[in-house]
Protein backbone atom coordinates (compact mmCIF):
# COMPACT_ATOMS: atom_id res chain seq x y z
CA UNK A 1 0.00 0.00 0.00
CA UNK A 2 3.00 2.29 0.62
CA UNK A 3 3.84 2.36 -3.07
CA UNK A 4 0.38 1.58 -4.44
CA UNK A 5 -1.43 4.79 -3.48
CA UNK A 6 1.38 7.17 -4.51
CA UNK A 7 1.71 5.22 -7.75
CA UNK A 8 -2.00 5.73 -8.47
CA UNK A 9 -1.66 9.43 -7.71
CA UNK A 10 1.39 9.81 -9.99
CA UNK A 11 -0.44 8.12 -12.85
CA UNK A 12 -3.52 10.23 -12.26
CA UNK A 13 -1.45 13.41 -12.45
CA UNK A 14 0.26 12.13 -15.59
CA UNK A 15 -3.12 11.44 -17.22
CA UNK A 16 -4.43 14.86 -16.20
CA UNK A 17 -1.53 16.50 -18.03
CA UNK A 18 -2.64 14.87 -21.26
CA UNK A 19 -4.23 17.51 -23.55
CA UNK A 20 -6.46 14.87 -25.16
CA UNK A 21 -8.31 14.54 -21.83
CA UNK A 22 -9.13 18.25 -21.68
CA UNK A 23 -10.12 18.41 -25.34
CA UNK A 24 -12.42 15.42 -24.70
CA UNK A 25 -13.92 17.28 -21.72
CA UNK A 26 -14.76 20.28 -23.89
CA UNK A 27 -16.11 18.22 -26.78
CA UNK A 28 -18.23 15.93 -24.56
CA UNK A 29 -19.68 18.80 -22.55
CA UNK A 30 -20.48 20.70 -25.74
CA UNK A 31 -22.20 17.69 -27.32
CA UNK A 32 -24.21 16.89 -24.17
CA UNK A 33 -25.23 20.53 -23.80
CA UNK A 34 -26.25 20.73 -27.46
CA UNK A 35 -28.40 17.61 -27.07
CA UNK A 36 -30.04 18.94 -23.90
CA UNK A 37 -30.23 22.55 -25.08
CA UNK A 38 -34.02 22.44 -25.37
CA UNK A 39 -34.55 21.42 -21.77
CA UNK A 40 -31.83 23.66 -20.35
CA UNK A 41 -32.37 26.86 -22.29
CA UNK A 42 -35.89 26.71 -23.69
CA UNK A 43 -39.27 27.33 -22.06
CA UNK A 44 -39.50 23.63 -21.07
CA UNK A 45 -41.32 22.19 -19.27
CA UNK A 46 -44.19 24.66 -18.99
CA UNK A 47 -44.52 25.95 -22.55
CA UNK A 48 -47.17 28.38 -23.79
CA UNK A 49 -50.25 27.14 -25.63
CA UNK A 50 -49.19 28.42 -29.06
CA UNK A 51 -45.92 26.47 -28.98
CA UNK A 52 -47.65 23.32 -27.73
CA UNK A 53 -50.30 23.54 -30.46
CA UNK A 54 -47.60 24.01 -33.11
CA UNK A 55 -45.74 20.96 -31.82
CA UNK A 56 -48.91 18.80 -31.67
CA UNK A 57 -49.86 19.83 -35.20
CA UNK A 58 -46.41 19.06 -36.60
CA UNK A 59 -46.62 15.61 -34.99
CA UNK A 60 -49.93 14.82 -36.62
CA UNK A 61 -48.85 16.15 -40.01
CA UNK A 62 -45.43 14.46 -39.86
CA UNK A 63 -43.97 17.89 -40.52
CA UNK A 64 -40.62 19.13 -39.17
CA UNK A 65 -41.31 19.92 -35.50
CA UNK A 66 -40.55 23.21 -33.80
CA UNK A 67 -37.78 23.73 -31.30
CA UNK A 68 -38.99 21.32 -28.68
CA UNK A 69 -38.80 18.29 -30.99
CA UNK A 70 -36.69 16.31 -28.55
CA UNK A 71 -39.32 16.56 -25.83
CA UNK A 72 -42.11 14.66 -27.56
CA UNK A 73 -42.34 11.84 -25.06
CA UNK A 74 -42.57 14.20 -22.13
CA UNK A 75 -45.81 15.78 -23.35
CA UNK A 76 -47.50 12.57 -24.51
CA UNK A 77 -50.44 11.38 -22.44
CA UNK A 78 -50.59 7.72 -21.47
CA UNK A 79 -53.48 6.03 -23.28
CA UNK A 80 -56.01 3.69 -21.68
CA UNK A 81 -55.50 -0.06 -22.02
CA UNK A 82 -58.27 -0.26 -24.63
CA UNK A 83 -56.87 2.59 -26.76
CA UNK A 84 -53.40 1.01 -26.59
CA UNK A 85 -54.86 -2.35 -27.67
CA UNK A 86 -56.76 -0.82 -30.61
CA UNK A 87 -53.71 1.13 -31.77
CA UNK A 88 -51.53 -1.99 -31.59
CA UNK A 89 -53.97 -4.19 -33.50
CA UNK A 90 -54.50 -1.53 -36.18
CA UNK A 91 -50.77 -1.20 -36.75
CA UNK A 92 -50.18 -4.95 -36.79
CA UNK A 93 -53.03 -5.58 -39.24
CA UNK A 94 -51.64 -2.89 -41.53
CA UNK A 95 -48.21 -4.54 -41.32
CA UNK A 96 -49.66 -7.95 -42.23
CA UNK A 97 -51.68 -6.39 -45.07
CA UNK A 98 -48.55 -4.89 -46.65
CA UNK A 99 -46.34 -7.94 -46.20
CA UNK A 100 -48.76 -10.86 -46.51
CA UNK A 101 -51.68 -9.40 -48.51
CA UNK A 102 -54.36 -10.16 -45.91
CA UNK A 103 -57.59 -8.06 -45.86
CA UNK A 104 -56.37 -5.64 -43.17
CA UNK A 105 -59.58 -3.72 -42.47
CA UNK A 106 -61.75 -6.84 -42.20
CA UNK A 107 -59.19 -8.55 -39.95
CA UNK A 108 -58.97 -5.48 -37.72
CA UNK A 109 -62.77 -5.29 -37.33
CA UNK A 110 -63.01 -9.01 -36.51
CA UNK A 111 -60.27 -8.81 -33.86
CA UNK A 112 -61.73 -5.71 -32.21
CA UNK A 113 -65.31 -7.05 -32.18
CA UNK A 114 -64.20 -10.30 -30.54
CA UNK A 115 -61.55 -8.65 -28.34
CA UNK A 116 -59.01 -11.34 -29.27
CA UNK A 117 -56.08 -11.44 -26.79
CA UNK A 118 -57.29 -8.27 -25.05
CA UNK A 119 -57.48 -9.88 -21.61
CA UNK A 120 -53.94 -11.24 -21.60
CA UNK A 121 -50.42 -10.31 -22.76
CA UNK A 122 -50.10 -13.47 -24.83
CA UNK A 123 -50.98 -12.53 -28.41
CA UNK A 124 -51.31 -16.11 -29.65
CA UNK A 125 -54.99 -15.85 -30.57
CA UNK A 126 -54.44 -12.78 -32.74
CA UNK A 127 -51.34 -14.29 -34.37
CA UNK A 128 -53.12 -17.58 -35.16
CA UNK A 129 -56.07 -15.77 -36.69
CA UNK A 130 -53.93 -13.57 -38.95
CA UNK A 131 -51.66 -16.51 -39.85
CA UNK A 132 -54.73 -18.45 -41.02
CA UNK A 133 -55.61 -15.49 -43.30
CA UNK A 134 -52.05 -15.26 -44.61
CA UNK A 135 -52.08 -19.00 -45.45
CA UNK A 136 -54.81 -18.27 -48.02
CA UNK A 137 -52.98 -15.38 -49.68
CA UNK A 138 -49.21 -16.02 -49.88
CA UNK A 139 -47.11 -19.03 -50.96
CA UNK A 140 -45.63 -21.35 -48.32
CA UNK A 141 -42.03 -20.13 -48.74
CA UNK A 142 -43.13 -16.54 -47.99
CA UNK A 143 -45.24 -17.74 -45.06
CA UNK A 144 -42.08 -18.92 -43.35
CA UNK A 145 -41.31 -15.23 -42.72
CA UNK A 146 -44.59 -14.46 -40.97
CA UNK A 147 -43.96 -12.12 -38.05
CA UNK A 148 -45.90 -13.19 -34.94
CA UNK A 149 -47.11 -10.66 -32.39
CA UNK A 150 -45.41 -11.43 -29.07
CA UNK A 151 -45.25 -9.84 -25.63
CA UNK A 152 -41.72 -8.52 -26.10
CA UNK A 153 -42.26 -7.22 -29.66
CA UNK A 154 -45.83 -5.90 -29.34
CA UNK A 155 -44.60 -2.47 -28.24
CA UNK A 156 -43.20 -1.97 -31.73
CA UNK A 157 -46.74 -1.86 -33.10
CA UNK A 158 -49.02 1.03 -32.26
CA UNK A 159 -48.39 3.05 -29.13
CA UNK A 160 -49.46 3.50 -25.55
CA UNK A 161 -49.20 7.27 -25.69
CA UNK A 162 -51.20 9.94 -27.47
CA UNK A 163 -51.14 13.71 -27.94
CA UNK A 164 -53.56 15.30 -25.47
CA UNK A 165 -54.93 18.80 -25.15
CA UNK A 166 -52.75 21.62 -23.83
CA UNK A 167 -54.46 21.53 -20.43
CA UNK A 168 -54.03 17.75 -20.14
CA UNK A 169 -50.35 17.91 -21.07
CA UNK A 170 -49.52 20.76 -18.67
CA UNK A 171 -51.49 19.13 -15.84
CA UNK A 172 -49.45 15.94 -16.40
CA UNK A 173 -46.18 17.91 -16.31
CA UNK A 174 -47.23 19.71 -13.12
CA UNK A 175 -48.07 16.41 -11.43
CA UNK A 176 -44.63 15.02 -12.36
CA UNK A 177 -42.90 18.14 -11.04
CA UNK A 178 -44.73 17.76 -7.74
CA UNK A 179 -43.36 14.21 -7.39
CA UNK A 180 -39.80 14.77 -8.56
CA UNK A 181 -37.42 17.73 -8.91
CA UNK A 182 -36.67 19.06 -12.39
CA UNK A 183 -32.92 18.59 -11.89
CA UNK A 184 -33.61 14.91 -11.19
CA UNK A 185 -35.13 14.73 -14.65
CA UNK A 186 -32.09 16.43 -16.18
CA UNK A 187 -29.83 13.99 -14.32
CA UNK A 188 -31.79 11.12 -15.78
CA UNK A 189 -31.46 12.54 -19.30
CA UNK A 190 -27.73 12.89 -18.80
CA UNK A 191 -27.54 9.34 -17.46
CA UNK A 192 -29.44 8.26 -20.55
CA UNK A 193 -27.60 9.99 -23.40
CA UNK A 194 -24.73 11.89 -21.79
CA UNK A 195 -23.34 8.61 -20.51
CA UNK A 196 -22.95 7.38 -24.08
CA UNK A 197 -21.03 10.49 -25.11
CA UNK A 198 -18.67 10.20 -22.12
CA UNK A 199 -18.21 6.51 -22.84
CA UNK A 200 -17.03 7.27 -26.37
CA UNK A 201 -14.40 9.58 -24.93
CA UNK A 202 -13.33 6.79 -22.55
CA UNK A 203 -12.57 4.48 -25.45
CA UNK A 204 -9.85 6.82 -26.69
CA UNK A 205 -8.64 7.97 -23.26
CA UNK A 206 -8.22 4.46 -21.81
CA UNK A 207 -6.45 3.22 -24.96
CA UNK A 208 -3.69 5.72 -24.09
CA UNK A 209 -3.09 4.31 -20.58
CA UNK A 210 -0.47 1.73 -21.45
CA UNK A 211 0.53 3.00 -24.89
CA UNK A 212 4.03 4.13 -23.84
CA UNK A 213 4.76 1.20 -21.55
CA UNK A 214 4.08 -1.25 -24.36
CA UNK A 215 6.95 0.13 -26.46
CA UNK A 216 9.95 -2.28 -26.35
CA UNK A 217 12.49 0.25 -24.97
CA UNK A 218 10.12 1.23 -22.16
CA UNK A 219 9.34 -2.38 -21.34
CA UNK A 220 13.00 -3.21 -20.72
CA UNK A 221 13.33 -0.17 -18.49
CA UNK A 222 10.36 -1.27 -16.42
CA UNK A 223 12.12 -4.52 -15.43
CA UNK A 224 14.29 -2.60 -12.99
CA UNK A 225 11.27 -1.38 -11.06
CA UNK A 226 10.58 -3.17 -7.78
CA UNK A 227 6.84 -2.93 -7.85
CA UNK A 228 4.87 -6.10 -8.53
CA UNK A 229 2.98 -6.61 -11.80
CA UNK A 230 -0.36 -6.40 -9.99
CA UNK A 231 0.55 -3.08 -8.36
CA UNK A 232 1.81 -1.73 -11.68
CA UNK A 233 -1.22 -2.73 -13.75
CA UNK A 234 -3.82 -1.81 -11.13
CA UNK A 235 -1.99 1.41 -10.31
CA UNK A 236 -1.89 2.55 -13.93
CA UNK A 237 -5.52 1.56 -14.45
CA UNK A 238 -6.81 3.27 -11.32
CA UNK A 239 -4.73 6.37 -12.01
CA UNK A 240 -6.24 6.70 -15.51
CA UNK A 241 -9.70 5.90 -14.18
CA UNK A 242 -9.46 8.65 -11.58
CA UNK A 243 -8.47 11.16 -14.25
CA UNK A 244 -11.25 10.10 -16.62
CA UNK A 245 -13.90 10.06 -13.88
CA UNK A 246 -12.69 13.51 -12.80
CA UNK A 247 -13.10 14.70 -16.40
CA UNK A 248 -16.71 13.52 -16.34
CA UNK A 249 -17.19 15.08 -12.90
CA UNK A 250 -16.11 18.47 -14.27
CA UNK A 251 -18.52 18.04 -17.16
CA UNK A 252 -21.34 17.31 -14.67
CA UNK A 253 -20.37 20.37 -12.65
CA UNK A 254 -20.69 22.63 -15.67
CA UNK A 255 -24.05 21.09 -16.55
CA UNK A 256 -25.23 21.32 -12.92
CA UNK A 257 -24.51 25.03 -12.98
CA UNK A 258 -26.51 25.48 -16.18
CA UNK A 259 -29.37 23.38 -14.77
CA UNK A 260 -29.42 25.38 -11.54
CA UNK A 261 -29.59 28.62 -13.50
CA UNK A 262 -32.47 27.33 -15.65
CA UNK A 263 -34.42 26.07 -12.59
CA UNK A 264 -33.98 29.32 -10.69
CA UNK A 265 -35.07 31.29 -13.75
CA UNK A 266 -38.21 29.14 -14.13
CA UNK A 267 -38.92 29.07 -10.41
CA UNK A 268 -38.50 25.29 -10.14
CA UNK A 269 -36.99 23.19 -7.40
CA UNK A 270 -33.50 21.70 -7.97
CA UNK A 271 -30.95 19.59 -6.10
CA UNK A 272 -27.18 19.97 -6.30
CA UNK A 273 -26.50 16.24 -6.27
CA UNK A 274 -29.14 15.20 -8.79
CA UNK A 275 -26.85 15.12 -11.82
CA UNK A 276 -23.91 13.63 -9.89
CA UNK A 277 -25.84 10.67 -8.51
CA UNK A 278 -26.87 9.54 -11.98
CA UNK A 279 -23.33 10.08 -13.22
CA UNK A 280 -21.69 8.03 -10.45
CA UNK A 281 -24.32 5.29 -10.27
CA UNK A 282 -25.07 4.95 -13.98
CA UNK A 283 -22.15 6.16 -16.07
CA UNK A 284 -19.02 5.58 -13.97
CA UNK A 285 -19.41 1.75 -13.67
CA UNK A 286 -19.58 1.53 -17.48
CA UNK A 287 -16.50 3.75 -17.82
CA UNK A 288 -14.53 1.60 -15.37
CA UNK A 289 -15.55 -1.58 -17.17
CA UNK A 290 -14.40 -0.11 -20.49
CA UNK A 291 -11.08 0.84 -18.90
CA UNK A 292 -10.55 -2.72 -17.68
CA UNK A 293 -11.39 -4.21 -21.08
CA UNK A 294 -8.96 -1.78 -22.75
CA UNK A 295 -6.24 -2.64 -20.23
CA UNK A 296 -6.56 -6.38 -20.88
CA UNK A 297 -6.60 -5.84 -24.62
CA UNK A 298 -3.54 -3.59 -24.49
CA UNK A 299 -1.63 -6.29 -22.63
CA UNK A 300 -2.61 -8.71 -25.39
CA UNK A 301 -1.91 -6.56 -28.47
CA UNK A 302 0.38 -3.80 -27.11
CA UNK A 303 -2.24 -1.20 -28.03
CA UNK A 304 -5.92 -0.68 -27.33
CA UNK A 305 -6.61 1.22 -30.55
CA UNK A 306 -7.97 -1.69 -32.66
CA UNK A 307 -10.63 -2.38 -30.04
CA UNK A 308 -12.17 1.09 -30.44
CA UNK A 309 -14.38 0.22 -33.46
CA UNK A 310 -15.76 -2.88 -31.71
CA UNK A 311 -16.52 -0.90 -28.55
CA UNK A 312 -18.28 1.78 -30.59
CA UNK A 313 -20.38 -0.82 -32.37
CA UNK A 314 -21.16 -2.54 -29.06
CA UNK A 315 -22.51 0.72 -27.61
CA UNK A 316 -24.48 1.75 -30.71
CA UNK A 317 -25.95 -1.72 -31.18
CA UNK A 318 -26.99 -1.86 -27.55
CA UNK A 319 -29.07 1.27 -27.96
CA UNK A 320 -30.98 -0.03 -30.96
CA UNK A 321 -33.54 -2.73 -31.42
CA UNK A 322 -31.99 -6.06 -32.28
CA UNK A 323 -33.59 -8.10 -35.01
CA UNK A 324 -33.32 -11.59 -36.40
CA UNK A 325 -32.85 -12.33 -40.10
CA UNK A 326 -36.56 -11.88 -40.77
CA UNK A 327 -36.52 -8.36 -39.50
CA UNK A 328 -38.42 -9.22 -36.30
CA UNK A 329 -37.46 -7.08 -33.38
CA UNK A 330 -36.23 -9.33 -30.61
CA UNK A 331 -35.45 -7.06 -27.70
CA UNK A 332 -34.36 -3.55 -26.95
CA UNK A 333 -31.76 -4.36 -24.34
CA UNK A 334 -29.56 -7.36 -23.73
CA UNK A 335 -27.97 -8.11 -20.39
CA UNK A 336 -24.49 -7.98 -21.85
CA UNK A 337 -24.81 -4.49 -23.26
CA UNK A 338 -21.95 -2.21 -22.43
CA UNK A 339 -24.44 0.18 -20.88
CA UNK A 340 -28.19 0.24 -20.47
CA UNK A 341 -30.16 3.34 -21.38
CA UNK A 342 -32.82 4.55 -18.99
CA UNK A 343 -35.06 5.41 -21.92
CA UNK A 344 -35.20 1.73 -22.90
CA UNK A 345 -37.18 1.00 -19.76
CA UNK A 346 -39.49 3.98 -19.77
CA UNK A 347 -41.10 5.80 -22.67
CA UNK A 348 -40.95 9.16 -20.99
CA UNK A 349 -38.06 10.08 -18.77
CA UNK A 350 -40.22 12.61 -16.96
CA UNK A 351 -42.07 9.81 -15.20
CA UNK A 352 -40.82 9.46 -11.62
CA UNK A 353 -39.08 6.09 -11.37
CA UNK A 354 -39.84 3.65 -8.58
CA UNK A 355 -37.26 1.99 -6.37
CA UNK A 356 -37.86 -1.37 -8.05
CA UNK A 357 -36.53 0.10 -11.31
CA UNK A 358 -33.13 0.75 -9.76
CA UNK A 359 -33.07 -2.71 -8.20
CA UNK A 360 -33.69 -4.23 -11.63
CA UNK A 361 -30.53 -2.55 -12.93
CA UNK A 362 -28.41 -3.97 -10.09
CA UNK A 363 -27.65 -7.32 -11.83
CA UNK A 364 -26.29 -5.42 -14.83
CA UNK A 365 -24.01 -3.37 -12.60
CA UNK A 366 -22.82 -6.54 -10.85
CA UNK A 367 -22.14 -8.02 -14.27
CA UNK A 368 -20.05 -4.95 -15.12
CA UNK A 369 -18.09 -5.38 -11.88
CA UNK A 370 -17.45 -9.05 -12.71
CA UNK A 371 -16.19 -8.13 -16.20
CA UNK A 372 -13.93 -5.48 -14.65
CA UNK A 373 -12.24 -7.89 -12.22
CA UNK A 374 -11.98 -10.63 -14.83
CA UNK A 375 -10.29 -8.32 -17.36
CA UNK A 376 -7.91 -6.89 -14.78
CA UNK A 377 -6.92 -10.39 -13.67
CA UNK A 378 -6.19 -11.30 -17.29
CA UNK A 379 -4.21 -8.08 -17.72
CA UNK A 380 -2.03 -8.77 -14.66
CA UNK A 381 -1.38 -12.36 -15.79
CA UNK A 382 -0.46 -11.22 -19.32
CA UNK A 383 1.84 -8.56 -17.96
CA UNK A 384 3.58 -11.11 -15.75
CA UNK A 385 4.05 -13.42 -18.74
CA UNK A 386 5.56 -10.64 -20.81
CA UNK A 387 7.87 -9.68 -17.98
CA UNK A 388 9.09 -13.28 -17.64
CA UNK A 389 9.85 -13.42 -21.38
Amino acid sequence: MKTFLPFIWVNCRHSLKNPVLWIALLVCTAIIFAMLADILTGPFPMVDEALYTEWAQSLQENAPPPRIRSLMMEYMIRSSDWDTYVSRIRDYCRFCEINFQIPGEAAFNHIIENRLSFADDNWDTVTKYLYSLAEQTVPAERLAYFVPLQAETARNFGGSLHVGSYEEAMAQVQSYLSLSRYSEYVGRRIGDIGGLVLLFACFVLFSMTFSRESAPEMFELLHVKRISPAVFVWGKYLGSSLAVVFMGFLSMTILTGITAYHCIRQGMDWGILDLYKYYFAWVVPSMLMVGAIMTAFTMLCRTGIPLIPLLFFWVFAGTQSVTDGKGTTIAKQFFWNITVRISSFHDALFVPLEQSFYLSILPHKLFQAAVLFFCMTIAVLLYEQQKIK
Binding site: I31, A34, A201, V204, P306, P309, G325, G327
Partner: protein
Protein backbone atom coordinates in the same frame (compact mmCIF):
# COMPACT_ATOMS: atom_id res chain seq x y z
CA UNK B 1 8.54 -1.13 -53.12
CA UNK B 2 4.80 -1.65 -52.71
CA UNK B 3 5.44 -5.00 -51.04
CA UNK B 4 7.87 -3.27 -48.67
CA UNK B 5 5.23 -0.67 -47.81
CA UNK B 6 2.71 -3.44 -47.27
CA UNK B 7 5.04 -5.05 -44.73
CA UNK B 8 5.54 -1.76 -42.89
CA UNK B 9 1.86 -0.92 -42.94
CA UNK B 10 0.74 -4.26 -41.59
CA UNK B 11 3.73 -5.07 -39.42
CA UNK B 12 1.35 -5.76 -36.57
CA UNK B 13 -1.17 -8.02 -38.26
CA UNK B 14 -3.38 -8.73 -35.18
CA UNK B 15 -3.95 -5.01 -34.83
CA UNK B 16 -4.97 -4.63 -38.48
CA UNK B 17 -6.99 -7.82 -38.48
CA UNK B 18 -9.02 -6.73 -35.45
CA UNK B 19 -9.61 -3.23 -36.81
CA UNK B 20 -10.84 -4.64 -40.14
CA UNK B 21 -12.56 -7.60 -38.53
CA UNK B 22 -14.70 -5.22 -36.50
CA UNK B 23 -16.16 -4.01 -39.79
CA UNK B 24 -17.33 -7.55 -40.52
CA UNK B 25 -19.37 -7.45 -37.28
CA UNK B 26 -21.55 -4.62 -38.60
CA UNK B 27 -24.21 -6.83 -40.28
CA UNK B 28 -24.64 -8.83 -37.07
CA UNK B 29 -25.22 -5.76 -34.94
CA UNK B 30 -27.08 -3.36 -37.22
CA UNK B 31 -30.20 -4.27 -39.10
CA UNK B 32 -30.09 -4.06 -42.89
CA UNK B 33 -33.09 -5.88 -44.34
CA UNK B 34 -33.25 -3.68 -47.44
CA UNK B 35 -30.53 -2.58 -49.86
CA UNK B 36 -31.02 1.03 -48.80
CA UNK B 37 -30.72 0.19 -45.10
CA UNK B 38 -27.65 -2.04 -45.61
CA UNK B 39 -25.85 0.67 -47.58
CA UNK B 40 -26.86 3.30 -45.00
CA UNK B 41 -25.48 1.25 -42.10
CA UNK B 42 -22.25 0.63 -44.00
CA UNK B 43 -21.90 4.33 -44.86
CA UNK B 44 -22.36 5.20 -41.21
CA UNK B 45 -20.35 2.60 -39.32
CA UNK B 46 -17.45 1.84 -41.67
CA UNK B 47 -16.12 5.32 -40.90
CA UNK B 48 -14.92 4.14 -37.48
CA UNK B 49 -12.59 1.35 -38.67
CA UNK B 50 -11.45 3.73 -41.43
CA UNK B 51 -10.49 6.42 -38.91
CA UNK B 52 -8.63 3.89 -36.74
CA UNK B 53 -6.81 2.18 -39.61
CA UNK B 54 -5.73 5.34 -41.45
CA UNK B 55 -4.53 7.29 -38.42
CA UNK B 56 -1.02 5.89 -38.19
CA UNK B 57 -0.13 5.65 -41.88
CA UNK B 58 2.75 8.07 -41.49
CA UNK B 59 2.84 8.20 -37.70
CA UNK B 60 4.88 4.99 -37.78
CA UNK B 61 7.79 7.10 -39.05
CA UNK B 62 7.44 9.63 -36.24
CA UNK B 63 7.17 6.86 -33.64
CA UNK B 64 10.34 5.16 -34.89
CA UNK B 65 12.08 8.47 -35.67
CA UNK B 66 12.71 7.56 -39.30
CA UNK B 67 10.72 10.35 -40.91
CA UNK B 68 13.71 12.49 -41.73
CA UNK B 69 16.41 9.81 -41.98
CA UNK B 70 15.04 7.12 -44.25
CA UNK B 71 12.84 9.07 -46.63
CA UNK B 72 14.89 12.17 -47.01
CA UNK B 73 13.57 13.50 -50.33
CA UNK B 74 10.28 15.35 -50.50
CA UNK B 75 9.01 13.36 -53.47
CA UNK B 76 9.86 10.08 -51.79
CA UNK B 77 7.88 10.92 -48.66
CA UNK B 78 4.81 11.94 -50.66
CA UNK B 79 4.95 8.87 -52.90
CA UNK B 80 5.39 6.47 -50.01
CA UNK B 81 2.57 8.05 -48.03
CA UNK B 82 0.31 7.85 -51.09
CA UNK B 83 1.16 4.18 -51.56
CA UNK B 84 0.20 3.43 -47.98
CA UNK B 85 -2.97 5.50 -48.15
CA UNK B 86 -4.13 3.86 -51.36
CA UNK B 87 -3.31 0.38 -50.01
CA UNK B 88 -5.31 0.95 -46.83
CA UNK B 89 -8.14 2.60 -48.77
CA UNK B 90 -8.44 -0.25 -51.27
CA UNK B 91 -8.44 -2.71 -48.36
CA UNK B 92 -11.30 -0.80 -46.73
CA UNK B 93 -13.30 -0.82 -49.96
CA UNK B 94 -12.72 -4.56 -50.27
CA UNK B 95 -13.97 -5.02 -46.70
CA UNK B 96 -17.04 -2.91 -47.49
CA UNK B 97 -17.88 -5.27 -50.39
CA UNK B 98 -17.55 -8.20 -47.98
CA UNK B 99 -19.84 -6.45 -45.50
CA UNK B 100 -22.49 -5.98 -48.19
CA UNK B 101 -22.23 -9.65 -49.14
CA UNK B 102 -22.72 -10.51 -45.48
CA UNK B 103 -25.86 -8.39 -45.40
CA UNK B 104 -27.14 -10.19 -48.51
CA UNK B 105 -26.59 -13.56 -46.87
CA UNK B 106 -28.00 -12.62 -43.45
CA UNK B 107 -31.11 -10.71 -44.50
CA UNK B 108 -33.50 -12.43 -46.90
CA UNK B 109 -35.38 -9.20 -47.55
CA UNK B 110 -32.51 -7.89 -49.67
CA UNK B 111 -33.15 -10.58 -52.28
CA UNK B 112 -36.65 -9.26 -52.93
CA UNK B 113 -35.77 -5.60 -52.66
CA UNK B 114 -36.77 -3.48 -55.67
CA UNK B 115 -33.51 -1.53 -55.32
CA UNK B 116 -31.42 -4.62 -55.84
CA UNK B 117 -29.90 -3.45 -59.15
CA UNK B 118 -26.31 -2.73 -60.12
CA UNK B 119 -26.82 1.01 -60.64
CA UNK B 120 -28.32 1.64 -57.19
CA UNK B 121 -25.73 -0.48 -55.41
CA UNK B 122 -22.79 1.03 -57.30
CA UNK B 123 -24.02 4.53 -56.48
CA UNK B 124 -24.20 3.49 -52.86
CA UNK B 125 -20.65 2.17 -52.92
CA UNK B 126 -19.45 5.37 -54.57
CA UNK B 127 -21.03 7.31 -51.70
CA UNK B 128 -19.43 5.03 -49.12
CA UNK B 129 -16.06 5.45 -50.83
CA UNK B 130 -16.40 9.23 -50.49
CA UNK B 131 -17.22 8.99 -46.78
CA UNK B 132 -14.32 6.61 -46.08
CA UNK B 133 -11.96 8.87 -48.03
CA UNK B 134 -12.95 11.94 -46.01
CA UNK B 135 -12.72 10.28 -42.60
CA UNK B 136 -9.45 8.54 -43.46
CA UNK B 137 -7.95 11.82 -44.67
CA UNK B 138 -9.17 13.66 -41.57
CA UNK B 139 -7.77 11.04 -39.23
CA UNK B 140 -4.32 10.91 -40.84
CA UNK B 141 -4.05 14.68 -41.26
CA UNK B 142 -4.87 15.50 -37.63
CA UNK B 143 -2.48 12.74 -36.52
CA UNK B 144 0.38 14.14 -38.58
CA UNK B 145 -0.36 17.74 -37.59
CA UNK B 146 -0.38 16.94 -33.87
CA UNK B 147 2.16 14.02 -34.02
CA UNK B 148 -0.32 12.10 -31.87
CA UNK B 149 -2.53 9.42 -33.35
CA UNK B 150 -4.95 9.53 -30.43
CA UNK B 151 -5.75 13.08 -31.48
CA UNK B 152 -6.32 11.95 -35.06
CA UNK B 153 -8.64 9.14 -34.07
CA UNK B 154 -10.34 11.31 -31.46
CA UNK B 155 -10.97 14.10 -33.98
CA UNK B 156 -12.51 11.72 -36.51
CA UNK B 157 -14.67 10.05 -33.87
CA UNK B 158 -15.74 13.40 -32.38
CA UNK B 159 -16.86 14.55 -35.82
CA UNK B 160 -18.71 11.28 -36.30
CA UNK B 161 -20.58 11.83 -33.02
CA UNK B 162 -21.51 15.34 -34.08
CA UNK B 163 -22.94 13.98 -37.33
CA UNK B 164 -24.71 11.17 -35.47
CA UNK B 165 -26.29 13.04 -32.56
CA UNK B 166 -26.75 16.71 -33.35
CA UNK B 167 -29.79 17.72 -35.44
CA UNK B 168 -27.92 20.74 -36.81
CA UNK B 169 -25.37 18.43 -38.41
CA UNK B 170 -27.89 15.78 -39.46
CA UNK B 171 -30.46 17.99 -41.12
CA UNK B 172 -28.51 20.81 -42.76
CA UNK B 173 -28.09 20.28 -46.53
CA UNK B 174 -24.50 19.79 -47.78
CA UNK B 175 -23.21 19.53 -44.19
CA UNK B 176 -25.10 16.35 -43.39
CA UNK B 177 -22.79 13.59 -44.57
CA UNK B 178 -24.76 10.42 -43.92
CA UNK B 179 -27.60 10.96 -46.39
CA UNK B 180 -26.96 8.14 -48.85
CA UNK B 181 -29.99 7.82 -51.18
CA UNK B 182 -32.07 9.91 -48.78
CA UNK B 183 -32.07 13.34 -50.40
CA UNK B 184 -31.74 14.53 -53.99
CA UNK B 185 -28.52 16.38 -53.17
CA UNK B 186 -26.65 13.50 -51.58
CA UNK B 187 -24.17 13.01 -54.49
CA UNK B 188 -23.23 16.69 -54.21
CA UNK B 189 -22.67 16.27 -50.49
CA UNK B 190 -20.40 13.28 -51.04
CA UNK B 191 -18.45 15.16 -53.70
CA UNK B 192 -18.06 18.08 -51.31
CA UNK B 193 -16.60 15.86 -48.61
CA UNK B 194 -14.36 14.07 -51.10
CA UNK B 195 -12.99 17.46 -52.14
CA UNK B 196 -12.49 18.28 -48.45
CA UNK B 197 -10.63 15.00 -48.11
CA UNK B 198 -8.31 15.96 -50.98
CA UNK B 199 -7.66 19.31 -49.31
CA UNK B 200 -6.84 17.53 -46.05
CA UNK B 201 -4.42 15.20 -47.82
CA UNK B 202 -2.70 18.21 -49.40
CA UNK B 203 -2.34 19.79 -45.94
CA UNK B 204 -1.02 16.46 -44.68
CA UNK B 205 1.53 16.38 -47.48
CA UNK B 206 2.77 19.84 -46.49
CA UNK B 207 3.02 18.63 -42.91
CA UNK B 208 5.04 15.49 -43.59
CA UNK B 209 7.51 17.42 -45.73
CA UNK B 210 8.51 19.57 -42.77
CA UNK B 211 11.96 18.70 -41.58
CA UNK B 212 13.55 18.32 -39.04
CA UNK B 213 10.87 16.59 -36.97
CA UNK B 214 10.80 18.00 -33.43
Amino acid sequence: MLRFQWKILFSSWPKTAIALGSALCIPFLFRGDTVFRALYQMDLYLTIPAAVLMAELFHLEYAHRTAEILYCTRRRKSVLFLQRFVTAYVLLLAVSVLVFLEYSLLYEGIRWDENRNAGYILQGFAGIAGTLFFFGALSVTVTDLTKNYFMGIGAALALFLLFYYLPAFRNTPLISLFTLHQTTGWPLCKLFYTALGLLLLWINDLCIQKSPVK
